[in-house]
């Protein structure tokens, strides 16, 4: 199973959300900035709990923040 199957739109959503910084998002969801960096680079698939926390930080459902598979252009 490839590790890069779970993708996300975090960078785009941060930009659209008043250009929120990585540190601000990290503080909101209770992780370090390193974790947000890794998520945006696609180097890390978050736990389900963290994925929900990030989606909630943007006020969006999970599937609008994260996607599974090759639908990178979603």
């Amino acid at each position: 199973m490839g590790k890069d199957l779970v993708g996300n739109h975090i960078r785009k959503l941060r930009f659209n959300d008043n250009e929120m910084t990585q540190q601000q998002l990290a503080d909101k969801v209770g992780v370090t900035r390193q974790t947000i960096v890794a998520l945006e680079k696609g180097n890390y698939s978050p736990s389900l709990e963290l994925a929900f926390r990030i989606a909630r930080a943007f006020g969006l459902p999970l599937e609008e923040v994260f996607f599974y598979g090759e639908d990178m252009d979603q």
Binding site: Q34, T35, Y44
Partner: protein, 148 residues
């Protein structure tokens, strides 16, 4: 480069420097005529104990200075906790570090099984400890840069 990546690099460098400096210092104290069986255990026991305590102290001092330097130079706050990514990376680093030390430990025991001098066992154990420490830091750096 994030705090965790810089910290891993600093950890590798400080481990190598502390170990090299300590070995150079202890080498000067090594008697030219060699060690008797009883002296061997005393010498290497002192070596391991003082290296362990000295490196713990040096790491604490170095990491304290690094935290201050990082905060001042970047203006970023230093993370005061470990999140799920940190814990996962720590587990992988510990696994690799442990594997290297166990290999060294088996090699050290093997040296005794094949009638090598007892100081060979100590040298292998110390080298294994050093390499396992470096392996752990390299693993951390790798996963922070390349992902998990």
């Amino acid at each position: 480069m994030t705090y965790q990546e810089r910290k891993s690099i600093l950890s590798i460098l400080s481990t190598v420097l502390i170990f090299a400096a300590f070995c150079a210092y202890k080498y000067q104290q090594y008697p030219e005529e060699g060690l008797t069986q009883a002296e061997t255990f005393h010498y290497w026991g002192t070596f391991v104990l003082s290296l362990t305590l000295g490196s713990i102290g040096a790491h604490i001092v170095i990491s304290s200075f690094f935290r201050i330097y990082f905060q001042v130079s970047t203006g970023e706050k230093v993370p005061g906790f470990s999140d799920e990514l940190d814990k996962l990376i720590d587990l992988k680093a510990f696994r690799n570090s442990f594997g290297v030390f166990i290999l060294g430990f088996l090699l050290a025991m093997g040296s005794q099984a094949f009638d090598q001098p007892s100081q060979a066992m100590f040298i292998i154990l110390i080298a294994a400890g050093f390499l396992s420490d470096v392996t752990g830091s390299i693993t951390r750096l790798y996963h922070y840069r390349q992902g998990v």
